[in-house]
Amino acid sequence: MSLPLESVYQELILKHYRSSAHRGEVEEPSAAVAERNPLCGDDIFLTVRVREGIVEDVRFSGHGCAISQAAASMMCEHAVGKSWDEIHRVADRFRDLMHGSEEAARDRALGDMRALAGVARLPRRVKCAMLGWDALAEAEKQAAE
């Protein structure tokens, strides 16, 4: 059995890994979250600006593998301009994708994120892909306080 490496490390993912348009910190953040993956020592620092229930901007920084960084970048790209309800729907869908759902892999709502479908076959790496989403969920809680 061969693993889906060509699909996981495809150009689109490497583009997000190497030159994400969403690196950095937002101005006037409503929430700032530092998440760590103690397994590998990787970290992510996520800042979010929320106005009237809409995520106006979200950016990330930190160190991590191509999977974690690309997934965080794609997440930011998707979340900008969305309500938390819209973001929850995509987050659930993305989780389905990471659990190997073929239906999710065909769902256009996931956009570029579908490129990460192959990660479902690398179970040890699913946590990497979820790191940004975990930080975003924490940011939502913080912003609500």
Partner: protein, 417 residues
């Protein structure tokens, strides 16, 4: 590869591989190449047989019963202690205490010797190169006692920087605890010299031997230290099994670590007297099968010869370093002189994150370690978040190195390097 023919055979790795059943398998459609030996080594048939034979024929509790199985179990348990002591040149087997591993051995010294001997203002000298298991116990102890931790730094080749050792060693230094061989880099540290200089100021010296016991022909008394901690599963033995050697005078003056059965002489409701060494530090039913199997591992390694194992690893190391030096954007950490390192290669490849590298190599059936190697302060000191690490043992071959180099080529291609 033409280079392989030039490698002198110091031991027959192909023959040795036949002793290790786990190596005879495919992973992700490729023959397994196991290069994660610094994390844990594989077990030869002799060790697996010793485990099974103990449970099939001799299993009973030790040091208690008068019945035949208990007598046999006790004999096997103590015979194993003798075998491991012999491997390390330890003449007085009562100075060898079984523990769950090197981590528990270090914790034993920290909590038993440390609590009894350290006061506020005393100092413990460690290094930035230490594994978490030789940092966190001392942090906990420092919080409890008010003792201070001080640290040796590393130089630009990730060797210990001893230039300020004389300033760090003072009359306040009560303990020096240093790793013999770095798990993250393979650096071999001059522990004999450090021990001699530490003794000159009256400090007690612990050597973390988790990575030296399996790979160097260690003769513990000649290291000049006072305690030596080691781990069984890194030297062909079972997990959950290891040991602590300590000087008799120090051990006898130390209060017990764990209380319970087996470590006592006489128990009253309010107080007890304790058993002599080594049982005094071995409370509860021990990992008897583990000790027996570790004894078999010690015998196995002695039979092959630890000088031959070291020479074999050095040959593989030299071959791997040469082949890897031809890979663009590959950075190898650690001392440049192979005589200063064991068979460990810690490296990074361009902007490929070590975890991605680990996944890509795993797809080729190659097991390496990627991450911080339980040495986060060292990684920070080196200015990297993590590294990839390939580590050799007696059953690795030049072909394993070739497979690793091919796998790194695939990673470069996938990442467009």
């Amino acid at each position: 590869m033409s280079l392989i023919a030039e490698i002198p055979a110091v031991l027959d790795a192909e023959l040795i591989r036949a002793d290790f059943p786990i190596l005879q398998q495919e992973v992700n459609g490729h023959p397994l190449v196991y290069l994660d030996n610094a994390a844990s080594t594989q077990k030869p048939r002799a060790v697996l047989d010793a485990l099974a034979a103990y449970y099939e024929h001799d299993n009973a509790n030790v040091h208690r019963g008068v019945h035949t199985l208990s007598v046999r179990a006790t004999e096997a348990f103590e015979l194993a202690r003798g075998k491991v002591a012999a491997l390390f040149g330890i003449a007085d087997t009562a100075e060898l205490i079984w523990t769950r591993g090197a981590t528990e051995a270090i914790n034993l010294v920290a909590w038993s010797w440390g609590l009894a001997n350290l006061r506020a203002g005393d100092e413990v000298l460690l290094s930035v190169m230490e594994h978490h298991s030789n940092l966190v116990p001392w942090q906990l102890l420092a919080q409890r006692t008010g003792a201070k931790l001080r640290f040796l730094d590393i130089d630009d080749q990730q060797r210990l920087d001893l230039s300020n050792l004389d300033e760090l060693l003072t009359e306040r230094t009560k303990l020096v605890s240093i790793v013999h061989v770095s798990n993250a880099l393979g650096t071999i540290n001059p522990v004999r010299e450090i021990a001699a200089r530490a003794h000159a100021v009256g400090a007690v010296v612990l050597v973390d031997g988790a990575q030296s016991a399996p790979h160097l022909p260690v003769d513990v008394p000649s290291l000049g230290c006072d305690f030596y901690a080691f781990s069984g599963h890194k030297m062909c033995g079972p997990t959950g099994m290891g040991g602590l050697w300590g000087r008799r005078a120090l051990l006898e003056a130390m209060p017990p670590f764990h209380g319970g059965g087996d470590m006592i002489e006489w128990v009253e409701l309010e107080h007890s007297t304790y058993a002599p060494l080594p049982n005094r530090f071995e409370a509860g039913t021990p990992h008897i099968a583990g000790a027996v199997a570790l004894g078999a591992a010690a015998e196995y390694l002695a039979g092959i010869g630890r000088d031959a194992i070291l020479a074999h690893e050095r040959t593989l190391l030299a071959y791997a370093l040469e082949r890897m030096s031809g890979i663009p954007e590959l950075t190898v950490f650690g001392p440049r002189d192979p005589a200063e390192r064991s068979g460990v290669i810690s490296f990074t490849l361009g902007d490929v994150h070590p975890h991605d590298l680990g996944t890509i190599l795993d797809a080729e059936g190659i097991a390496i370690r990627a991450g911080h190697h339980c040495a986060q302060p060292l990684m920070r000191r080196m200015g990297v978040g993590s590294t990839a690490r390939a580590s050799f043992y007696l059953y690795n071959t030049p072909q394993d190195v070739d497979r690793l180099v091919e796998g790194l080529g695939r990673a470069r291609k996938l990442f467009g390097l």
